[in-house]
């Protein structure tokens, strides 16, 4: 085994039945290669089976396990203990649920609520430009796709929305913008006017203050701010 780390976790908890919030401290010794999801599982197994959190794929492809660790929104599944200790220069970590949606219990927020904003950006082809040639695929040169394919990697973990300095109430959010921007680039999408309406609506890109916090925290390393900047300029 590699080196063991003695961690102190301060976890923000919430009980929906008592409507009670508190911070609970856990001390735990863990190997450096464990992910934070593994650490919480270990707490469930050894100390507190009632501590609630969620995850799914646990390799940063689904975006279910976003939380705020020492102020930074991130995916717990890809935060290795040894990296966390190095990155945050401490062995004490405060874990808070994301603030982009109401908390259901402990670290679990109502992602369904958060997703409503993504739905407003219409995550699909609204109207197909032209069907593919009979029996064949669309011809789309790679250099056209290069403009937007990076933005399709977004997994809607809402880390960018959490970090964004614009208000959640007024801005659909960086990830919702990406959904829209992808289809503005995509030659298969015919409904460009509707897309532009979403983009330039009152809750659209004009709300962005260009803090670039989205790019800074994106677990997929997508340069979200770059796409939003392109959108502001109308460069599609």
């Amino acid at each position: 085994m590699g080196k063991l780390h003695s961690l102190t976790l301060k976890i923000h908890r919430y009980d929906p039945e008592q409507k009670k919030s508190w911070v609970q401290e856990y001390e735990i010794n863990v190997g450096g290669m464990l992910r934070f999801t593994d650490v919480l599982r270990k707490i469930n197994q050894e100390q507190d089976s009632g501590l609630a959190w969620i995850s799914s794929c646990e390799h940063a492809q689904c975006g279910s396990c976003g939380v705020v660790v020492n102020g930074k929104p991130l995916l717990m599944c890809e935060l290795l203990v040894q990296n966390a200790v190095k990155q945050f220069k401490t062995t004490t970590f405060t874990l808070k649920p994301l603030s982009i949606a109401p908390v259901l219990r402990d670290l679990i927020v109502d992602l369904e609520k958060a997703y409503e904003r993504v739905h407003k950006a219409k995550p699909y082809v609204i109207k197909l430009a032209d069907p593919s040639p009979e029996g064949d695929e669309h011809r789309i040169p790679p250099r056209i796709m290069e403009h937007y394919v990076e933005a399709t990697r977004c997994i809607n973990c809402f880390c960018c929305a959490e970090a964004c300095i614009s208000s959640h109430r007024h801005f659909l959010g960086p990830n919702a913008m990406l959904v829209n921007i992808v289809r503005l680039f995509d030659p298969k999408e015919a409904a460009k006017k509707e897309r532009l309406d979403i983009l330039y609506a009152d809750n659209g890109v004009a709300r962005c203050h260009t803090s670039e916090a989205c790019s800074f925290v994106c677990p997929k390393q997508i340069d979200v701010a770059h796409f939003i900047a392109l959108a502001k300029e109308g460069k599609f």
């Binding site: 929906p16 089976s49 609630a52 794929c57 492809q61 689904c62 369904e112 796709m145 399709t152």
Partner: protein, 600 residues
């Protein structure tokens, strides 16, 4: 404690349990035929976009019928041979004949396929895919979206279902099917976020709950893949099929078991043992590193057993190396961007400079709820359950037989999704309204949950789960034998007994993860037991099911295993024959569709 009861009743035309790629493709097809059909889809995750489909990497096989080199019949042969001659040929034909058309459907609904310089689909090769009935070279047959093809499919079907107004009940589980006479008329759903039971009455019910990877210690499967749909039908006295056929993917990233796609080898990567030997040459002289997954997994395990594996002191897991250092920066940075990122993030390794540690990891169940080629769930080899359908990894039609070729799972889920959708649409035309909720509906769920809450004792839920996962890995893993399987069956009986004494720490119903984990443990134990019984009964080696004590495939076992288990541990086994229709039609190439020898 809160009183448990059915809190509400919901009526819809169609209930879909499991909103991944297969379930939602089914929904979209139903809506394409009749847009005002009311559909509700239940998912365990917080949004359908989080489903496990989204983690599939490499691509899916689809032969353009106009292709001058490749032919659908070659793909059919590869699938048949890859399955170790135990998939159903009517299903093979149906799926592969529609593969190209359904690929274009995805293209027309917005999937961002990776393209070549001409702007057409790029293609890559995968294990076991060949030209000219295995006589020719590897076939470049798989289309893809970089190394996130599953995400492309998930985003497409999720988007289309939003467009079509499918309603979703997220973060919920199906705990019981509802029947009227013989017909399935819906299910009892436990909504975790509200802590309530809802009875959904539907004319048709589709199960698409995905896999069972969490039965094993190291798996590529997400946390939600606990065999729920299989346990659900087992408890209703319905069968599951071929559960002993569990696929071990040869290249899981050592440690977390995250999938490192076969595309890494398709793009030119190869395996090395401790002595830096390309050992696959010994086991599959022709296909080498691109032999089918079961063979590569066995080869890696054999290398490790014979002392040619590598041990990393950090986690003590023996493994071999995957070498992709020689691949171009374009492949590393663009075509395989996600996976090379996983090595960096989770193993601290730069695959451009370092060898990558990999070992077999549980990846896929070939078996599932038995269905016919239309996805109608079966209660026996020749009888269906009216109103009940199954599709995707939780179903077995059977396209995969005893070993699935890489790229054939995504292909199966959206083609079968379409076919099941068509069948459901047909059924809905004359289907009666399910009427009122039957009096006894929900009783089973309420009694099960009450038992969980009332249990007293000092057993630890997580410990039992870990013991199960370890014993399944050691005794019902890549290599199996009579002695180990017997031990496994006995231990599983013991674990079930111990599970009765698990006390939950909270009696809350709202977002109580421990409660769901407790329910999952029962599902896991159920499917684990059925896997072990299927494996001990099948005294032969076929595809992913390898018996050290019976190393050859046997004609006597040319059938699918049907397994019933209404009471824990009491497994009744039956048979379903293998469809040989391509062979029996006696067309030009029929001889390749006999029980052919499996050499690569």
């Amino acid at each position: 404690m809160n009183k448990l009861r059915i809190n509400s009743v919901l009526k819809k035309d169609v209930l879909i349990i499991g909103a991944g790629g297969a379930g939602l493709r089914t929904a979209i097809e139903i809506l394409a035929g009749k847009p005002d059909t009311t559909i509700v889809a239940v998912t365990k995750v917080s949004s359908p976009q989080k489903s496990h489909t989204t983690t599939a990497q490499g691509g899916f096989a689809a032969v353009n019928p106009k292709d001058p080199i490749d032919k659908p019949i070659y793909h059919m042969f590869d699938t048949w041979k890859g399955s170790d001659c135990s998939s159903d040929q009517n299903v093979i034909k149906k799926i592969i004949d529609s593969a190209w058309e359904q690929t274009l459907w995805l293209d027309n609904h917005g999937l961002h396929f990776t393209r070549n310089e001409e702007g057409r689909f790029s293609k890559r090769t995968f294990g076991g895919h060949t030209l000219e009935f295995g006589e020719g070279p590897s076939a470049f047959r798989a289309v893809f979206e970089a190394d996130r093809t599953g995400k492309g499919i998930m985003d497409t079907v999720w988007g289309e279902s939003l467009k079509g107004n499918v309603s979703f009940i997220n973060q919920s589980i199906a705990t019981e099917l509802i029947f009227k006479d013989e017909r399935c008329i819906g299910a009892i759903i436990f909504e975790e976020t509200r802590g309530q039971f809802t009875a959904v009455l539907a004319k048709a019910t589709v199960i698409s709950t995905g896999g069972l990877g969490q039965v094993y210690k190291i798996t590529t499967n997400c946390r939600q893949n606990t065999g729920d749909g299989l346990a659900l039908v087992l408890r209703e006295g319905l069968p599951v099929m071929d559960l002993e056929a569990v696929q071990f993917h040869p290249t899981g990233i050592v440690g977390p078991g995250i999938l490192a796609s076969e595309a890494l080898r398709g793009e030119g990567g190869f395996l090395l043992n401790k002595n830096m030997e390309r050992f696959m040459e010994q086991y599959a002289p022709k296909m080498k590193d691109l032999a089918p997954r079961d063979m590569v997994s066995r080869s890696i395990e054999t290398e490790i057993r014979e002392g040619r594996g590598v041990i990393n002191p950090d986690h003590n897991l023996p493994h071999v190396w995957l070498d992709i250092r020689h691949l171009s920066d374009y492949v590393h940075d663009v075509k395989l961007q996600e996976i090379t990122g996983f090595f960096k993030k989770f193993a601290g390794i730069d695959p451009k400079k370092n060898l990558c540690p990999v070992r077999p990891t549980v990846h896929y169940q070939m078996g599932g709820i038995p269905t016919n080629e239309f996805g109608e769930a079966q209660k026996s080899a020749d009888k269906i359950v009216p109103g009940l359908y199954a599709v995707g990894e939780s179903a077995s039609a059977s396209f995969q037989g005893f070993n699935r070729l890489g790229t054939n799972s995504l292909l199966e889920l959206f083609t079968m999704g379409k076919f099941v959708g068509d069948r459901v649409s047909e059924y809905l035309r004359d289907a009666d309204d399910p009427g009122d909720l039957p009096k006894d509906a929900g009783e089973k769920s309420i009694s099960l949950f009450s038992k969980y809450f009332e249990a007293k004792g000092s057993e630890n839920l997580w410990k039992i789960r870990e013991i199960m996962r370890e014993l399944m890995t050691e005794k019902v893993g890549v290599f199996r034998n009579e002695k180990l399987l017997n031990e496994a069956i006995n231990q599983l009986m013991d674990l079930k007994e111990r599970s009765i004494h698990i006390k939950l720490s909270s009696s809350s119903l709202i977002m109580n993860q421990e409660l769901v984990d407790r329910w999952e443990l029962d599902n896991l134990l159920d499917v684990a037991t059925v896997i072990a019984h299927g494996a001990i009964n099948r005294k032969e080696s076929r595809g992913a099911h390898t018996r050290e004590d019976y190393p050859e495939r046997k004609m006597d076992y040319n059938y699918h295993t049907l397994a019933y288990m209404q009471e824990y541990g009491k497994v009744a086994l039956g048979k379903r024959s293998i469809d040989m229709s391509i062979f029996e039609e006696k067309n030009r190439d029929y001889k390749h569709f006999d029980f052919v020898a499996r050499k690569y």
